[in-house]
Amino acid sequence: MIRMEYYLIVSTIMMFVGIYGFLTRRNLLAMLISVELILNSVDINFVVFNRFLFPEQLEGFFFSLFAIGISAAETAVAIAIIINIYRNMRNIQVKNLDKMKW
């Protein structure tokens, strides 16, 4: 039997790897992947808590399925934005994107 803490350790590591990646990657696509890591770590948490703490209920599973669907849509939007940025600026380096202050 794998204990709950082990799952949580994995998801925590994924979470902080994602945050680290989000803050340090210079490429927008890498940043997007990092965001996905964060979301997946959260999904794991939902499933784990449901499985171990409330085994007779199903909300956690549904919520993680829901989050996966949402994140797919979010990725589609993000990629569309990134493609548009590329078309306008000919690269997707985040250090060039300082137009947001206007």
């Binding site: 945050i19 989000f22 803050l23 340090t24 985040v94 994107l97 300082d98 947001m100 202050k101 206007w102």
Partner: protein
Amino acid sequence: MEHTILILLLPFLSFILIGLLGTRLKPTAAGAIGTVVTAIVAVLSYWTAFAYFGAGRDAGTGLFPTLMPWNAVWLPFGGDLHIDMGILLDPISVMMLIVISTVSLMVHIYSFGYMKGERGFQRYYAFLSLFTMSMLGLVVATNIFQMYVFWELVGVSSYLLIGFYYTKKEAIAASKKAFIVTRFADLGFLIGILIYGFYTGTFSFTPDAPALGAAKAMLPLALGLMFVGGAGKSAMFPLHIWLPDAMEGPTPVSALIHAATMVVAGVYLVARMFPLFIGFAPEVLHVTAYVGAFTALYAAIVACVQSDIKRVLAFSTISQIGFMIVALGVCTSADPHQGGLGYMASMFHLFTHAMFKALLFLGAGCIIHAVHSNEMSAMGGLRKYMPLTHVTFLVACLAIAGIWPLSGFFSKDEILAACFSFSPVMGWVMTFIAGLTAFYMFRLYFNIFWGNENKELHAEHRPHEAPLTMTVPLVFLAAVTLFAGWIPFGEFISSDGQAYHIHIDWKVATISLCVAAAGIALATWMYMREDRKVADGLAARFSGLHKAAYHRFYIDEIYQFITHRIIFACISAPVAWFDRHVVDGFFNMLASVTQKVSWGIRNMQSGYVQRYGIWFLGGALGLTVILLLI
């Protein structure tokens, strides 16, 4: 009587048309539009007068009916208080319609010749139309507030026309002076109107008895303040200072606005409020009489020594308006047989004065046109060059001096009779001023047409008679001046509205004729000859008085001192300093502090997503730590 609305609308449309088309219109076309419209207005006014007086008196009351062919609520205030716009016809407003449209038509025709080739000819005619419209609107006002609205419009058109030569510094200063001084007086007028409206609950000229009873205590104050406004427009001492300077405008404008029509608006105002004055504030009415008498005396003295012919005429106007105000002020009852004669006398003098003073100004315009100067020193001996102007000018001088059988004699005689019946002192003072009038008018006349000719100037530039467009109005006005005295004025206008048969008081008439003859004789003896020994000797003998009178007794300098040294230096300058340094300084400080703080924190808003991410994470962590600690 519904056609009376056209009397107001036509000049307004002409103003809009000429004003909007501007220089796209040929000068003659603009002049023709203005003149034709004014001619139509004049015909309509005559027709109105004919129909109104022809319809006769009301059989029951014996009064001419007060008609209101047009009246509409313009601005309701809630309750019973509302401002109306409309047309009121009663004897004095019909009489004023005739005066204004006649003089305005004459001036329109005259200006064709006088303003020929001037830059801004179209603008000039547009302003003339505007003035005609506003002056007519003023006299037919159905309530005091409509009168005030048109009163201000008249002030604006006067300002525009005085400053017509806007490249000339004096003209600009004069127009501003006229505007500011009359505006200062109009403040009193407005406060008077507001008090009147507040306490009587209406702006009508004739509130009903309960409203008047309620406002009884406040009426003298309200009427007094209204008179302040009237005094400003009618150039009563000490608010007269703008009128002599207003002579910087074109001469026909002086004839129309600053002699015949606008400056008598104050007299008209007092006449309009006369029933209230006599019923509720006779003491205020008598104060106006003293103000008028002092003004008349002061202006007559100053007029005796001026060298600019238009200034002489300006002071003469002030003096004559003083006569009209005195005539109204000496009324002690509404019955013309018992001390109410002055009302009729004042209106009569207003009528005759408008005609002969317009004639004098137009004549002066011809002279200025001929010699290109306002100064008497450039004139002298002009009778040989300009016979027609000479004759008409002489007619006007005789009329203003009060010589039988010219119109001025009849109206001035009624005024003097009214003054004598008020108090002998007032009567003698006014008689003395009438003598002074004769003296200064004939001093003017002899200096222009006789006396020492400025031969060098005339040889260099030979004076010539004015063109036909300018002489026709002169002849017309001279004819009116000759015969207007025989109009049975009292049959139409009197203080109680009943027919009043004018009978000349020959005792008073003899005195005034003698005094006028003495004035003329003195002027003839002093100024008709070539050498000016007597006049110059007198001027040297009383050099202090002469100099003071020449400088108008330093009233302008006193104003200058009060405004610049006292009001500007002691009040305005500290207030301006406070505004600039404390009020503005406080807000400048707010702005600069905000700006500095913004510069300090602007780096937080870098636009880099990842930096925002760090802030976001930091915030989230901080919140977590706080929540865990609590």
